[in-house]
Symmetry: D2
Subunit: 354 residues, 4 copies
């Protein structure tokens, strides 16, 4: 029914790519949460285009303006609203008569009866991840204060794969040299990934990727069985990012190939605590946190907007047509997807914890 | 917060594995929906154990008793409640002092402060998929009346893989010879899958699998952007099934390895309609149905309850302990998982359509 | 969309007056809440008919059967389901062709397209207050453990009025001699009220009344501004009781006749705490609890089902018809309404506090 | 948990009285709803202060800026966000150390731990009815297109009472000469009401009032039994207006004094339709619309902010203190309350119908 997420903390996202502004209302955060706006701005920077050849050349300052709910650096306890004005809008880049393959142009057109503001993807645009990250950047700070930290890296681009995160020892995560705009653990993989992207871009194409996210410090016992487990909630949030086509927790799809004796993580005592000896379950058993790091991976399809000519249809002429997209687009959205995944996960976890 | 799903049609599941009954309340179905109880019973049969060597020997009649909301074979429009009494309960099978690896015993114990009725897995037991299927079986009938059909098969067991469904032509689905209790398209794969299961069982082990589900006839324009897209909603429902660790739509994780030019599905006119030439997107673009069949795959980990001795801990003695599970369990829950996945998908789609 | 209430604690009511059972699912209570079933049964007794000339002669044992969520006298933390079987059903008492004035027969008939099980009022029957009270009786115990107590009395029947509760000093409430089946503070008013009811009944008529409810011990700061204030939430729950046509908090409608200088309650220090010198605001300022007792009154219309001949229409013959209701009905539902109001209030408060 | 309302159409209100802006997000309206912005502005004008001696002298232009969801005069189908900047802010008017009696200053202070932006009442200010009216003004247009019209007048101020609306024949409503800024049916009552207000204001006091609202054209069968009936939903919305202390439907509290034979509205055939001969039930039976006009009255307490000296406490000095409020306030908020009540009702009805 809505562009809204959450039970305890409600996130309501609004705006169109080429409208006056995009923004978010955040409802349910208690009063007195310190929000460091400099840190928040650095977080927002991670999703911003235009910084490198791997992202969109659309230059947006993307500085959120807080209209309510934050005063003197602290949450007031009442709803937060933050907006980002859309300044750098080039409506002429879009030809709405010929829907872009792989994008929501056609489905949104049919859904809203032709009234939707579809320019630039409208409400379905990747630009709507900006308000997602506004909320995510706040939640990351709120969670860290409660001992919960998130770490996100590019797991793969095309067929190039990074080292997986350490599933057992989150203390090691801080040793990863993750560049904010291209976070990879294995620096040799990083170069190969960038080559993949450049090669795709060179032929006016795009390439997909997988993002891996780890969450440490979630206390045992969070999440509810059946429909409100951690997997359900994170999945429901993460599919809120356009271009995500799959999600898996712990060893995920790999588990489907294995036997129980290999997948089950034995319980052991360690330092007086019950922990598991391995973490194939990704920190979630029966929807409930086990105290082990939560680990999940998200599959991003290649950016749907590619510059090479594509076959589509002209809706006005009711015949086949060739589309050449002239807009400004990332050749690999998985790169900027990292901070979006982290935001979605932070929102989902905060909703369950606060 | 709860074992509940849905915006328009609310599904509320209750019960513990070894309690008096499990059941479901379904809220929001309009009056006058014909419900064929014989067909419903056949649907329930698909998840029932004890029929073959691939399922649990726990024999339950599992006949739902409708307490409200259905009269003379039609929904009344007011809440439906159906329960299944738990008759064949063997509490002694469970040793709650030693939590079963891979199961929610320990996380639920910590969550509920020791008050949960954890015998047999309690509210986290696979038995709670029975009320899920009660609701699912009703929704399948409700959807079919609206031209929407679901088809589900075992996509893989261990390393044995079935033929994928036809992503383009759902009319062909009816030609699959899908046995209700072991639905596989390629009959030669079926035998190999069963061998995998028997081999695992022979060594007191279990094996994982992947379930593929197709949904035809969903009209274009269903689903909302951002957090209430079809992917979000199906994922939120499907992770309600224990042992599910991953989900992917269309070509899913495969898309992350490819280029946009291979993944984008061109739009074409066919019979006066705009359709896509291929269906890598799995019937969903920007969270909204495209009119093409919706396709998704779900990864089931191997049954956590295996009979071979496993390392765990004794919570009372606070030291390591060996666990030998004597309960009655499926060697491969993905088999019975098919009807659960179909139920979850039907519930999610019905919630968005009605 | 649904017969459901609550954000944190969800109450889902199901059943029809003459169906197999009525019941309730309660979702969200933590594990470990002691529930005294004897006390709960005594609470349920308060709404039960057949005890005195002021209530319905329909004799129901109304003993809830708990199917899940309570074990050994404690909540398990997972959903509670309780049902009451409908044993004493006399469907022939109802003539559905001629809708009863003042009842939901006709509106429900139109809403559900003729499929609703309307016998005895179906899902709109006063019988559905039984599951409301099952939930209410649990919440009353849960709240008392947190220092919150509810007190409810008949404020008026027809034109006979009881003494109002003490709005300032809830400790005095325990001194009221409130009979469970006819709770009135002023015993002389009690007799006059009973005379009113007997007089109405003698002429096959019914009479209305007002119920007053006080809630003590709600800590300051509960409730949220705008749509989730205490008034909004209690009102939303209390209108869940059939026959309720009005609600007012503190001095309510009286305040509309007065000046601010008379209505505003001055703040004072008392025992080191900020309290108000009077309690015209009924314990709620800006939707948020002030720490003073919460006070509200609920208007019950007279029982719609009266035995005297009434003018209505025959739906089959499409002409005027005279209706003589032969069912078993209370001459004044406000009497049994007291425990229903208390239940609704307890549910609303528990939802905001837990 | 939140400043949000609605199931199908979600209204999320944000902002503080003296913050950067107040605003609203509206989620769930279909695309293609024409919104006449001139008419909308005229609607907003009805709640605006400063037009007459009966309202606040705080002059605000209160022109909503639409950031999303409306394009070329039509809804796009995606979330609408509208904001009103706070320009005329005089923070020095407020002394937060001495909480104003009858206002949320103290309860909000305790709730939010001192972090709330309480200047001018903060998020609890009457100024937050501006975004309520933004949403209400849109819904009024959306409903009229569906044949549903709302009519609201001042029913009483102090002890001066207007003629009640015609409960049976909504066509007559258009003949009422209702001034937008002081809507009264009986022009002689109007003058007396204004005298009441002027008299109260002259002694630095305020006065309460009752607002009556009628809704015509709601088709039979809207609303759900138990917790989602029309009464529950309208009440939950209307208590979102500060200063509302009571609500009653149809003849409301009067019904509690009467007998069933007087209150029950007989069914009759009229023009081939089943209607009721009178409308004591206010258009709602069992929570469901009967097709008759929906009628309800809302009690407003006198404006809490009065200029005469009041007793309160100094929170810093922990002793009694005298408060003299210097802000700009209405002497009778029921006057501007009319458009707020109409907005809340329109929101509630739209949520149930669309």
């Amino acid at each position: 029914m809505s562009s809204e997420f959450g039970n305890n903390i409600k996130i309501s996202i609004f705006g169109e790519s080429h409208g006056a502004a995009v923004g978010v209302v955040i409802n349910g955060l208690p009063g007195g949460e310190a929000i460091d706006l400099d840190e928040h701005f650095a977080f927002m920077k991670r999703r911003q285009g235009g910084n490198n050849p791997f992202s969109t050349p659309r230059q947006e300052e993307d500085i959120p303006v807080f209209l309510s709910g934050i005063k003197d650096g602290y949450t007031t306890g009442t709803p937060i609203c933050a907006i980002i004005e859309n300044k750098n809008v080039r409506r002429r880049d879009y030809n709405l008569d010929i829907p872009r393959p792989g994008h929501a142009d056609y489905t949104a057109y049919k859904k809203y009866g032709g009234f939707a503001d579809l320019s630039g993807g409208g409400h379905s645009s990747g630009r709507l991840t900006a308000p997602l990250c506004i909320a995510g950047g706040i939640m990351v700070q709120v969670l860290r204060r409660r001992g919960i930290n998130l770490c996100t890296h590019i797991y793969s681009i095309g067929n190039v794969t990074d080292i997986p995160m350490d599933y057992m020892n989150p203390n090691s995560w801080s040793s990863y040299e993750l560049a904010p705009d291209f976070p990879v653990i294995d620096q040799s993989a990083k170069e190969k990934m960038q080559d993949e992207i450049i090669a795709a871009k060179a032929v006016k194409d795009s390439v997909g990727g997988v993002v891996e996210c780890g969450i440490s410090g979630v206390p045992i016992g969070i999440g509810d069985p059946i429909f409100d487990g951690i997997e359900n909630r994170i999945a429901a949030a993460v599919f809120g990012i356009g271009a995500v086509k799959g999600i898996e927790f712990g060893i995920g799809f790999e588990a489907a190939k294995l036997r129980g004796s290999s997948v089950n993580d034995p319980f052991i005592f360690k330092g007086g605590e019950v922990v598991t000896e391995s973490n194939n379950h990704g920190g979630i058993l029966g929807g409930i946190s086990s105290g082990m790091p939560i680990i999940f991976r998200t599959a991003f399809k290649p950016t749907a907007s590619i510059s090479m000519p594509q076959r589509s249809v002209s809706l006005s002429e009711m015949k086949g047509a060739t589309l050449e997209i002239k807009g400004r687009h990332d050749p690999c959205i998985a790169v900027r997807g990292t901070v979006c995944v982290e935001s979605a996960a932070a929102i989902a976890i905060a909703d369950m914890i606060i």
